[in-house]
């Protein structure tokens, strides 16, 4: 486990008297301190060579309920690239304010805006504390515990009732005329003005929210001087569905289908994150049957190939190479066929369960996967023939959107974006969840951190993924058809079911996740007592934090580079917005 040891925390305690250690028998311990001392302590942690917690991972809030005093607690997760360990720091937000961390890690900017949007916590010193997902005039903070799950229904929308065309449905299946608040055009104008308060030049170009090049519903604002971008901002939230709020009202197996709909291109990996986190909270992750472990590792890597193929196709399409799109979709079709046969769905898969998988592999599954994996390298070399050394491709990618190692630490970048910048940050190696400790693979790392490196890193990742899949197939072939694929608890207090009814989580907290095609999807679960529903279910989205660096990369670049940079960062709006 990659957590700071108790000895090191005790050394910290000797230096700083105000910190308080919360010991936890599950392997990681959090540090609690008053918010007045927070910044001094964090600067020490960041700069001291014995600790060097340089990398920002997540910064979020727990609401302890309307009656608790103080009510809100800030939770900060940091990572030390040198010692490969994480730390959790907690602080109470008295008077609903916290000091801003944007001057230590610029990546805290969006995290703080999200905390303001969802919990109504003010951050002293934040430069432009506006809402993250919702529009500026929205009056509520939805992740607070006193906000109802169905929202405040206050707008009448009779068209939803289809009164003229249908007979009224009766009972529960009828639709209400009332709807939660919706933004009007005026609201959106106010939002846009607040996001970019100081215009530098004459033209502000709006790109999106509905534009094929944005790969979803992202709304970009470019402040342009001729064709060079002076200032840039992003408005996201058009696809915000409140997955965290929904998840706090469901049991853990029921959350999985919702995570399918976050990063819908790699839904297998999204499920994987939640499973790993919940299993670690229950303390059963090491006891998962080996068959389930290998099946999960194999399918997660196939899903990574699937996701990278979509990325490659659309990225090349955006830069003008239409053929690539057709070729990669041919290969994707085969992977989707395999997923359909094994799991029952092509896209929103919901196959992994906390405790294993929901069914064994069907007859012929391994043969189909092996057939694909044998064929795949020749396909990949076709793609490389078309693109890698093509002069247009080189001109549009080399030295565009350079991300430095410092940026990775400051902004909390993960996944291929971080690895292309030369940081070998990969949860598969750091955490070694599932069967990743038992398979051989290399982590591709770039040199310059430009778009071309990100392209090369992802191509190499596909090769490594097919290597992992082949090893998993070889291991699975040796197993028996009667081996279990789901964990059976011996402990009577524990109850885990495939369909989720009665699945309980234990008291405690956990931060764990999986390395997804779009970066680290971390899941932070906080449980004040044993129960079915997670009290706080935080999804640390890789795509969200990766997208944050986009304005910085765009400043001073021509507008045509927006396509290249956005494609190589590769966000999926379902995951950025959640």
């Amino acid at each position: 486990m990659s957590w700071i040891t108790l000895d090191k925390i005790n050394e910290l305690k000797e230096k700083f008297e105000f910190i308080q250690i919360n010991e936890n028998e599950k392997g990681f311990h959090s540090v609690e301190l008053p918010k007045e001392n927070l910044k001094q302590f964090l600067r020490f942690l960041k700069d001291d060579p014995d600790y060097s917690f340089k990398m920002f991972i997540d910064w979020t809030i727990i609401d302890h309920g309307a009656k608790a005093e103080p009510r809100f607690q800030g939770v900060l997760i940091l990572f030390s690239p040198e010692y490969k360990e994480r730390i959790i720091i907690k602080t109470w937000a008295t008077d609903e304010t916290l000091p801003t961390l944007t001057d230590i890690w610029p990546g805290a900017k969006w995290a703080e805006r999200e905390a303001w949007d969802m919990f109504g916590i003010k951050f002293d010193g934040h430069k432009n504390l506006v809402r993250m997902f919702l529009w500026e005039t929205y009056p509520y903070h939805p992740l607070r515990k006193d906000f109802p799950l169905k929202g405040h229904q206050e707008v009448e929308l009779p068209s939803l009732n289809e009164k003229e065309r249908m007979d009224q449905l009766e009972g529960l299946q009828n639709y209400s005329r009332m709807h939660t608040a919706l933004p009007t055009l005026e609201d959106l104008e106010i939002t846009q003005k607040k996001r970019m308060p100081n215009k530098k030049s004459q033209v502000v170009l709006n790109w999106g929210p509905l534009h094929p090049g944005t790969h979803g519903t992202i709304w970009f604002l470019f402040d342009m001087e001729s064709e060079y971008v002076q200032d840039c901002d992003i408005i996201i939230g058009q696809l915000h569905r409140g997955v965290e709020k929904i998840a706090e009202n469901l049991n853990v197996q029921q959350i999985l289908p919702y995570t399918d709909r976050m990063d819908y291109i790699a839904s297998m990996n999204e499920n994987h994150s939640v499973c790993v986190a919940a299993e670690k909270l229950l303390g059963i992750h090491e006891k998962i049957p080996p068959k389930a472990k290998y099946i999960r590792t194999m399918l997660a890597e196939l899903s990574r190939i699937n996701s990278h193929l979509l990325w490659l196709g659309t990225y090349a399409l955006d830069l003008g190479a239409l053929t690539m799109f057709l070729y990669t979709f041919r290969e994707r079709e085969k992977i989707m066929d395999i997923f359909e046969g094994i799991t029952g769905a092509r896209f929103t898969i919901n196959y992994f369960r906390v405790g294993g998988v929901y069914a064994d592999l069907p007859y012929g599954a391994l043969d189909a996967i092996e057939h694909f994996i044998k064929d795949f390298p020749t396909r990949l070399s076709d793609y490389e023939n078309l693109l890698t050394r093509n002069r247009i491709w080189l001109k549009r990618n080399v030295d565009v959107g350079v991300i430095t190692e410092q940026d990775v630490y400051d902004y909390g970048l993960t996944g291929a974006v971080a690895r292309a910048a030369g940081v070998p940050y990969d949860l598969r190696i750091i955490d070694k969840y599932d069967a990743y400790s038992e398979v051989e693979f290399d982590v591709p790392v770039g040199e310059k951190g430009d778009s071309y490196d990100r392209y090369l890193v992802r191509i190499e990742e596909m090769k490594q993924s097919s290597r992992i899949v082949q090893q998993c197939i070889d291991k699975l072939r040796k197993m028996s058809k009667n081996d279990p694929f789901f964990f059976e608890p011996e402990d009577k207090k524990m109850k885990i079911t495939i369909d989720g009814r009665g699945t309980k989580l234990f008291k405690g907290e956990v931060y764990a996740g999986a390395d997804n095609p779009r970066g680290e999807l971390g899941v932070y679960i906080y449980m004040p007592k044993d129960g079915i529903k997670p009290y706080r279910f935080r999804l640390r989205s890789g795509a969200f934090y990766n997208l944050q660096i986009f304005p910085k990369l765009m400043i001073g670049r021509p507008i045509a580079d927006a396509i290249t940079i956005l494609s190589t960062i590769d966000p999926v709006v379902g995951e950025t917005d959640r």
Binding site: M166, Q254, R330, D337, G341, A345, G364, N385, K448, K481
Partner: protein
């Protein structure tokens, strides 16, 4: 496990002068595309040609009827929930509402069971029968949790995937429609999917390998399906 460095000049050489002058990079690309020009068509001509969904495919739900392939504990469940023992052709549903409990969106289901209106000396006195089973599929995520929760394997996923209707009313299926969908599905593909106790057998195939349309999508070179594990037939 190691770290592999990639980058221009590291594993990719920049373009040489000859390559630049003679457009060799374009030639290489054209060779790939021309090679594909002589390959067979891989697209399926929908709707004239259909790919048969896999046996595990999660399509529209159905409610299975009693047909002699129930699980061994079926009668025990019927007794436990005080349901009128179903005859052949009647629904397997015992109105236990486990599907609703497992569902992430429980509003989908409206399930009701009423007591039979029979005199006291009748053998079915005091027993219940399922009278209403409505599913609003416009709210459904097709996650499959309800089918896993069902103790009698009554609610199943079929391979029907076109759920289109002109009004919202059309997305609400009642128990007669659901039964008809399931009967139709089991008659067509029940042998592929279920064994004689309605469980998923280990010979359940990933897909039907005789399907010509699916073979097209696999570049006209579909995989030969064989056993997964060493001790599988």
């Amino acid at each position: 496990m190691g770290i592999k460095k990639v980058g221009l000049n590291r594993n990719i050489q920049p373009q040489s002068l000859t390559e630049k002058i003679f457009f060799l990079d374009f030639m290489k690309g054209l060779r790939t595309t021309i090679k594909h020009l002589f390959k067979k068509v891989i697209t399926v001509d929908f709707p004239f040609e259909l790919v048969e969904p896999a046996p595990r495919f999660r399509g529209i739900h159905g409610l299975r009827n009693v047909d002699g392939t129930e699980k061994d504990d079926f009668q025990a469940w019927v007794k436990k929930l005080k349901i009128k023992p179903p005859e052949m052709g009647e629904t397997r549903c015992i109105a236990c509402k486990f599907c609703q409990a497992a569902c992430p969106v429980p509003e989908i289901f409206v399930i009701k069971a009423d007591k039979l209106d029979v005199p006291e000396d009748h053998p079915h006195h005091g027993l219940k029968v399922m009278t209403q089973f409505d599913m609003d599929l416009s709210k459904c995520m097709f996650c499959g949790l309800c089918t896993l929760a069902c103790p009698t394997i009554c609610i199943i996923h079929t391979d029907v995937y076109d759920l289109s209707a002109y009004t919202r009313r059309g997305c609400v299926l009642d128990k007669e429609t659901l039964s008809k969908i399931a009967d139709d599905f089991v008659a067509r593909r029940g042998k592929e999917k279920y064994d004689e106790k309605s469980q998923w057998p280990d010979w359940q195939k990933i897909w039907d390998d005789a399907d010509k349309a699916r073979a097209k999508a696999w570049d006209n070179n579909p995989p030969k399906l064989g056993p997964n594990y060493a001790d599988q037939q």
